[in-house]
Symmetry: C2
Subunit: 306 residues, 2 copies
Amino acid sequence: MTIDTDALRNYFVRLQTDLVAALTTLEGPMGGAFRVDPWEKDPGASLAGHGRTAIIEGGRVFERGGVAFSSVNGAALPPAATARRPELAGRAFEAMGVSLVLHPENPYCPTAHMNVRALLARKEGAEPVWWFGGGMDLTPYYPFVDDIRHFHATCRDALRPFGDDVYQRYKQWCDEYFFLRHRNEPRGVGGVFFDDLDEGGFDRCFALTRAIGDAFATAYPPIVERRQHMPFGERERDFQAYRRGRYVEFNLVWDRGTLFGLQSGGRSESILMSLPPVVKWRYDWQPAPGTPEAAIYDLLAPRDWA
Amino acid sequence: MTIDTDALRNYFVRLQTDLVAALTTLEGPMGGAFRVDPWEKDPGASLAGHGRTAIIEGGRVFERGGVAFSSVNGAALPPAATARRPELAGRAFEAMGVSLVLHPENPYCPTAHMNVRALLARKEGAEPVWWFGGGMDLTPYYPFVDDIRHFHATCRDALRPFGDDVYQRYKQWCDEYFFLRHRNEPRGVGGVFFDDLDEGGFDRCFALTRAIGDAFATAYPPIVERRQHMPFGERERDFQAYRRGRYVEFNLVWDRGTLFGLQSGGRSESILMSLPPVVKWRYDWQPAPGTPEAAIYDLLAPRDWA
């Protein structure tokens, strides 16, 4: 079987362009702009590759955010990637995809994350092995049940053509993955997550991955449009900065993609574009019962949102 | 051989008390106070134990800081702790020690870290195995060569009674340990670091560990006294918040103690007292050449300070 790498690349590059355009529209004519930073890693490095990181900082809507396209390749799959598939150890590989993280300034707008990626492992004289991964998830600071329902319903609708149980399975996977074990606390209100996807063949899996990538523009911007003009003060900003600490803790302690990237010589600034612009830590802090800050904790427990 | 656990405990408890007293004196009569939070982990937990975390937040000098005593024990040493000593796998263990991290508000005062600890691994019918670990290191934001020299000279003097090459070896170990591999950048200007110490017998090793713990009050407070009244503005605070991001990245991605604690069910709030109060991330930011902010990067490269 021949893998059409160009089709993958074309999709990911177009998705990045479309997302940057949609988010720039959200910023509005008086808003901020994305800065596009193309980069290349020396082919001699342990992880070679290239990418385009689109970054916004200090925007009208987005205090910090990024949409990154990257394509990396290596002479041998690292052990972390072959733990579940030892027969692939030592294969040359190529990984490409788009990652997005958005931290709005307004604490009533949730933080969002989306990622779609493909991996190919090749060996001379053998069939190429491939799989897809991805998902999107939402991390609100204040409780708006309608926003969470809309986000999950969009994920559900995007996945419906691929099977009746797909959304449910990937939703559960998301709940399990974005979990801070050291705090026994979910990172946010979930969404969908999948990895190692090859079931049903290349065309189906690529289509499913595209469905997730394409759904983001329907899932998230309407939430920002609804919340971006809500007035907020120091109290809300402070709580947002505190909760963002959990985002940092998850990404740096538990997120396999981040750790794999940092430990294998990936491009730090592109990987760490996921970190929020301003973060606060405070010892053993708890919101007072009955406050809006306490309410978000109640919504973090996984439930049927769609 | 019988290990005098009480002597260890008494030392660590007294060290915590002394440090809190010295730092409270630094805060001054109009300054902040430490809040002492005793905690106990359920003996049924994977890691049982107790401790006293002394925390200061929003002090006159210290924006956030902690001095923690902890004593934990478990039925079996975790694999991470026996990688270099496989013969100890499965032994019951007891670990105790004092950890300190201080984040002053004034960006001209450096962040400091100190840790001293002892580990005992027991098995019925066998000699107990023990070792010590610890060290202290400095993370300045602005370049004051005198401060760095003083800190290192204090470490050197404290270790001199234990051998002519001890400071040099532990200094190098510190440079190697507190290193952000994903940025190819040292965390700070170093100090000393040691682990798995049992050479020369229990009494010598305990004395060496005490020498480090006791030296902190000579190594660090004089630096704060010198710098605490220097006027600063938003520019310096901003740079401090940016550089604190590196502190977070090191502690959450590379620090074995932090990761071991978080992954094995340690007490999160005590472990994460090391994280700064306010942190900022900014994409691919570099200080302009010739500025004081650029100067600190020149001092990060390891050199002979003492």
